[in-house]
């Protein structure tokens, strides 16, 4: 079994060596003439406004949180599939209880609307913001 893991290590080293080798070969062969314009961030030809390292939408975090719980569930279920035949009804009932708890949580998230990607933000006020100067045109 240990020898099989040696195969994994050799495989990993060969693939990393291949990647680094091709990158180094490219570094030797290709030209390198940077100018400030070339190195600027691409933003459809305009000057880039600000940095991209901003806070992004909280919905991505929520998806990641729900994912984490279900991924742990999958990791727990993997060994269960191999012994399931041995314990039959007992194994089935136990796993139904375990998955059932998670399904209740999933239903809660669903009902609460965290799975909705499009969210209504309530009525949007139109017209000029209060205190904004009158437009000249």
């Amino acid at each position: 079994m240990l020898f099989e893991w040696a195969n994994v290590l050799v495989y990993l080293l060969v693939s990393i060596f291949f990647i680094l080798g091709s990158l180094t070969l490219g570094r030797i062969l290709r030209p390198h003439r940077p100018t400030p314009e070339k190195l600027s961030t691409y933003e459809c030809g305009e000057e880039a406004i600000g940095t991209a390292w901003i806070q992004f939408n909280v919905r991505f975090y929520i998806i990641a949180l729900i994912f984490l719980i279900f991924d742990v569930e999958i990791a727990v279920l993997f060994p269960w599939t191999t012994i399931f035949k041995e314990f039959k009804l007992l194994a089935l009932l136990e796993i139904l209880l375990f998955v059932g708890i998670l399904v209740v949580g999933f239903a809660y998230v669903w009902v609460k609307g965290d799975l909705e990607w499009l969210k209504s933000i309530g009525e949007v006020k139109t017209g000029p913001a209060p205190g904004a100067p009158e437009r000249a045109d």
């Binding site: 459809c44 399931f84 796993i95």
Partner: protein, 384 residues
């Protein structure tokens, strides 16, 4: 001479090295360029264009019209990418910018090692590493690929890339659930006809399918036919999303995100991203063939092919090569299906993508597991 070869190949390190060389050399270095040209020629065919047909291999030059034109196009592309200037935007995070493409390419290539790509040659199973964790190893390295896309998108310090990277990470984790759950169902299903129960060992999975019938047809139990077919569909849809292929290519949609997470990548680093995508496709198709479509085995069709699978497992060099050929042709069929789907379907909206993943596929995958579990318990009489 023959004896010398035998002595050399009796050493396990030489056998391991030969299998590693085949796995990297064929599944990564040979199949990827072939897929690139196939994809371009098939897309041209489907859109009534000519496509790249000018770059031919030197000396053999289409063998008098037998080979289609343009076969050397990927080679020309590789040379061009190698000589192109590499532009790293001045605002980028240098380390993560390099780590992105490496983390996209290495995990899918590493995932191939537990896949049995043939029966055996002289008793040596054609599988790079026979690990105790089996399919679980592939699942775990697949999860790492998310980091590559997220790093690449974030480190570029470009708004398009950031949006692409965020979309990619949310999409990949969402569809990984239905992918993992459909793998679980098929592992349980494989235990239906075997007293030992389910298994995570891919070699054992293929052997059982050779003996009892493919898992897509229920692994020999007619009651499990809907679970096999349904599980295959779930896996296939999730695999399309995991590979960022159309109709799920929102992380890199050219029309609105200018390439998404690889907007700022050029030269070799860009080609690593592209190779990673294709190796990911090859890995997903190999997984599908191993889990559902019987690996290197032929379907036991009403007894007509009885004995064919025993012959394939015979162990001579010819039998081993034929089994590898069967495995590779199944993978190629699935890859062609991938390409055909890409050039047929339009792209989803992000809200549709999330709805499909969380509200349709995830409950269906859970129901699939429950169905297989109930049938399994009912078939064995229910008593512990």
């Amino acid at each position: 001479m023959h004896n010398l070869l035998e002595t050399v190949f009796s050493h396990p390190a030489v056998r391991g090295g030969a299998k590693i060389a085949f796995c990297i050399g064929f599944f990564v270095l040979a199949l990827v360029p072939l897929l690139v040209i196939l994809e371009r020629r098939i897309s041209a065919f489907m859109q009534n264009r000519v496509g790249p047909d000018r770059v031919n291999l030197p000396f053999i030059n289409r063998l008098g019209g037998i080979l289609p034109g343009g076969l050397a196009q990927p080679l020309a592309d590789a040379i061009k990418l190698l000589f192109k200037e590499d532009i790293i935007p001045s605002g980028a995070d240098k380390f993560l910018y390099l780590a992105g493409p490496v983390l996209v390419l290495v995990p899918p290539a590493l995932g191939m090692i537990v896949i049995p790509f043939g029966s055996n040659i002289g008793g040596e199973p054609l599988q790079v590493a026979h690990l105790g964790v089996g399919i679980l190893f592939t699942m775990s390295v697949l999860s790492v690929a998310v980091y590559g896309l997220a790093f690449g998108g974030w480190a570029s310090n470009n708004k398009w890339s950031l949006i692409g990277g965020m979309r990619a990470s949310a999409q990949l984790v969402s569809y990984e659930l239905s992918l993992g759950l459909s793998i679980l169902a098929v592992l349980m299903l494989s235990g239906a006809m075997d007293p030992k129960g389910g298994t995570v060992d891919p070699r054992e999975l293929v052997q059982r399918q050779a003996d009892h019938g493919w898992n897509i047809f229920g692994g020999g139990n007619p009651w499990l036919l809907p679970a096999g077919l349904g599980g295959f569909l779930l896996f296939f849809i999730s695999a399309l999303a995991e590979n960022n292929r159309l109709p799920f290519d929102l992380p890199e949609c050219e029309a609105e995100l200018v390439g998404g997470y690889h907007t700022e990548y050029s030269s070799m680093k860009f080609s690593l991203f592209m190779m990673g995508e294709f190796v990911g496709m090859i890995l997903m198709c190999s997984l599908m063939v191993t889990l559902f479509l019987g690996g290197w085995s032929l379907p036991p069709l009403f007894g007509a092919l009885n004995g064919a699978n025993e012959w394939l497992a015979g162990g001579s060099i010819l039998q081993g090569l034929v089994s590898v050929g069967i495995f590779v042709s199944k993978v190629m069929v699935l890859l062609l299906l991938y390409i055909a789907i890409r050039w047929t379907l339009p792209r989803f909206k992000y809200t549709q993508l999330m709805d499909l993943g969380w509200k349709r596929l995830l409950p269906l995958a859970l129901a699939n597991i429950a169905y297989v579990a109930v049938v399994g318990v009912a078939a064995s009489g229910g008593q512990p």
